[in-house]
């Protein structure tokens, strides 16, 4: 049985008050303690440039939205990084690995760019990594190009990112990769001829909509309608009603992770759209662990295409999930696996270069790299520096009382379809 996810405990309360005897250090707690100490001596000491050290470690600037609406994505990504380092040590090719975490507070490219600059200029970072959000990655891309710094995108999923700097490599996913697979599969093996699409009205949503519709039509399907929903949208009932009015055979959904997946899932049930009768296809966020838990039985039968789930059946993934749970008391998700694989890529590339951390050497080492990830076999396309991976077709089912995504089909070696 997996531990429950509640995070309330007395030691935590003590920790926040700065008490010394908070006896359990759980994720993030050490930051808090440090910040308590540093709060006092804030401006005096912290502004001084760090002195150069004799044994230069390899510094990885980890830029992500640690606070704000997207905080959890970064927390999970960070967990993946921490787990990898715990398992593989913090020294590679004789050099110590040091992570410097920087918070963008949200999709702020200007902040991300500044942080990247500061990391390169002041902290002497050798590698930039992280980026749960596309604007962050795009903001830092220029710095990577100009400073010739190796940059590992561990989540941000807009296709164009890797084209912004020759030193960028992506280990996560691209939305077209996932949604195009969804479109093709649904129109062929899925057996749907007509589809209605519902996407969030922002960049990733439009990417997903475009890729799905293109693939669905190319495979002989027909799009009977589409709707774009505001990003800040707490209530989906009206959009679902619109979909229902058309009585579609299948529906494709894209909403960002967070509060919306469960909300839209419940709204489907409330409007009596039954996933067992209407094929509701989505990308993985819409049926992530929390969303499925919140939906309960209502989620049964929901289809999705995705590259990673903690229920993926492989020895490697079982070990990964177990270790992750032991460390962080929760299941990994695609952010976590992104962080984990990103660190793996960095470690392996450094091994290849013998600890040389300049951008040219690292990107050369990374190109074409192949390895077994908890999500299955993955590789880096030497031409586009983008991820090539298996995309799984899943259905929400009840397995031994738990409601989970079950992989029942897959498409191997999927590249991003939009890179030329």
């Amino acid at each position: 049985m997996r531990p429950r996810r509640g995070r309330f405990s007395l030691p935590r309360l003590w920790g926040i008050l700065g008490a010394k005897d908070a006896n359990k250090v759980i994720q993030g707690e050490e930051y808090m303690r440090h910040s308590l100490l540093a709060g006092a001596a804030l401006l005096a000491t912290a502004l001084l440039p760090a002195g150069a050290q004799a044994q230069e470690p390899i510094r990885i600037g980890f830029i992500s939205a640690f606070s704000g609406q997207f905080a959890d994505t970064s927390a999970q990504m960070d967990n993946g990084i921490k787990l990898y380092m715990k398992q593989h040590g913090d020294t590679v090719a004789g050099r110590k690995i040091e992570i410097i975490r920087k918070d963008t507070g949200g999709p702020n490219p200007d902040v991300a760019k500044r942080l990247a600059q500061e990391l390169v200029v002041r902290d002497k970072a050798d590698i930039l990594a992280g980026f749960t959000l596309t604007p962050e990655a795009l903001g830092a891309a220029g710095v990577s190009a100009e400073a010739k710094k190796f940059m590992v995108v561990m989540n941000a999923a807009t296709s164009v990112i890797t084209e912004r700097s020759p030193y960028i490599v992506r280990v996560s996913l691209t939305l077209p990769q996932i949604s195009e697979t969804a479109g093709t599969w649904l129109a062929t093996k899925g057996g749907a001829k007509k589809a209605y699409t519902m996407v969030s009205d922002f960049g990733p949503g439009l990417d997903a909509e475009g890729a799905f519709q293109r693939a669905f039509k190319a495979a002989g399907g027909e799009i009977i309608g589409s709707v774009r929903m505001p990003v800040a949208n707490p209530d989906f009932s009206a959009f679902i009603q619109r979909a229902k009015d058309l009585n579609p055979e299948s529906i494709f959904v894209f909403v960002p992770g967070g509060a919306q997946p469960a909300a839209i899932g419940k709204a489907f049930a409330e409007r009596q759209i039954d996933p067992k009768k209407v094929k509701i296809m989505s990308t993985g966020e819409a049926v992530d662990e929390q969303a499925v838990k919140a939906m309960g039985d209502l989620a049964l039968g929901r289809l999705s295409t995705w590259h990673y789930d903690y229920n993926h059946k492989s020895k490697m993934n079982e070990d990964f999930v177990k270790a992750f749970n032991a460390e962080f008391k929760r299941n990994p998700d695609f952010f976590a696996v992104g962080g984990y694989d990103g660190m793996r890529l960095i470690y392996e590339a450094l091994k290849k270069t013998g600890g040389k951390a300049d951008g040219d050497a690292l990107i050369a080492a990374a190109k074409g790299m192949k390895w077994e990830s908890p999500r299955g076999p993955i590789s880096i396309d030497p031409a586009t520096r983008d991820i090539v991976q298996t995309v799984y077709i899943r259905r929400v089912e009840k397995v031994g009382g738990a409601i989970v995504n079950v992989e029942f089909d897959k498409v191997e070696n999927v590249k991003d379809p939009t890179h030329k």
Partner: protein, 287 residues
């Protein structure tokens, strides 16, 4: 058989009711005490986390947690009122804004620390899941429950304010503080109780909101804008005003998305700006 428009209306009202429960407390405190409490949604978030903790950790039934979340938020607000807010009743609006935004910041970090940044799932009891058919409309059980709670809250509030001596004292104090004091009414105590009541309702709203909009530490800010919209459109200090504004905003949001999804995100802001330009004090504002 009813056409879908009734379903849309129902959903709009239900969504409005959620906003109503979340915001009516702020309307009361802002209207009565003239205190700009931007930490209002932090109390709502507290209520939400109380419910999530009780349900997920201690296996309490969902309904039983609702009064607890009310009390927890009310109690927390009393502490803050005693220690901080009370000293700033006469301070400038801007100082109040800075103080309460400070508390909202603190609440966000504290929630992230204690409960993690993760979305908190909640399993409502089976009878609140799914929907019930009614003349061809599928009415969501939870939304019916929400409407029911909101009506009960409204009735209790209106009854409490209209038919009890305490309610009369609150109204008297709002009408004319000086005269109320002159008759021996302890206006400060009256307001403190009102403040606790308002925050408690926010806590209740937070608990009720989880099933529809989820719960994570950014809740304290995400819903602040909606709450402010309801309060200003309804008119400060008016329960009926908040109720009407919540219905208006809820219905226009849902109906806008249904009939003109391109306008979906603009509509509630447009409605707010239009209402305020027409009636600067809000629909039921006093001033």
């Amino acid at each position: 058989m009813l056409p879908p428009v009734f379903g849309v209306l129902f959903d709009g009202i239900a969504y409005g009711m959620l906003l109503f429960v979340l915001s009516v407390g702020l309307s009361v405190t802002l209207g009565l005490m003239n205190f700009v409490n931007l930490a209002h949604c932090a109390f709502a978030m507290l209520g939400g986390y109380v419910t999530v903790t009780l349900v997920n950790e201690l296996q309490w039934p969902f309904l039983a947690t609702l009064p607890v979340s009310f009390l927890a938020a009310a109690a927390a607000s009393v502490v803050l009122e005693r220690l901080f807010y009370r000293r700033l009743y006469r301070a400038s609006d801007l100082d109040q804004v800075l103080l309460t935004i400070g508390f909202a910041f603190i609440s966000v970090a504290a929630a992230a620390y204690v409960f993690g940044t993760i979305q908190q799932p909640i399993q409502t009891p089976p009878f609140l899941r799914g929907s019930t058919g009614f003349l061809g409309l599928g009415l969501s059980n939870y939304r019916m429950f929400l409407v029911g709670i909101a009506l009960v809250v409204t009735l209790l509030l209106v009854a409490g304010l209209e038919y009890t001596r305490f309610g009369a004292q609150v109204r008297a104090a709002v009408d004319n503080q000086r005269m109320a004091r002159g008759l021996g009414i302890d206006v400060d105590r009256t307001f403190a109780v009102t403040f606790a009541l308002g925050s408690g309702l926010a806590g209740l709203g937070g608990s009720l909101a989880i099933d529809i909009v989820g719960l994570d530490p950014s809740f304290a800010f995400t819903y602040l804008v909606y709450v402010l919209i309801i309060v200003s459109v309804g008119g400060l200090g008016s329960i009926v005003g908040s109720f009407a504004a919540a219905c208006l905003i809820g219905i226009s949001d849902v109906a806008g998305k249904y009939y003109a999804p391109e306008l979906g995100a603009f509509l509630i802001y447009l409605v707010m700006v239009a209402v305020l330009m027409w009636k600067p004090a809000g629909l039921f504002g006093r001033r």
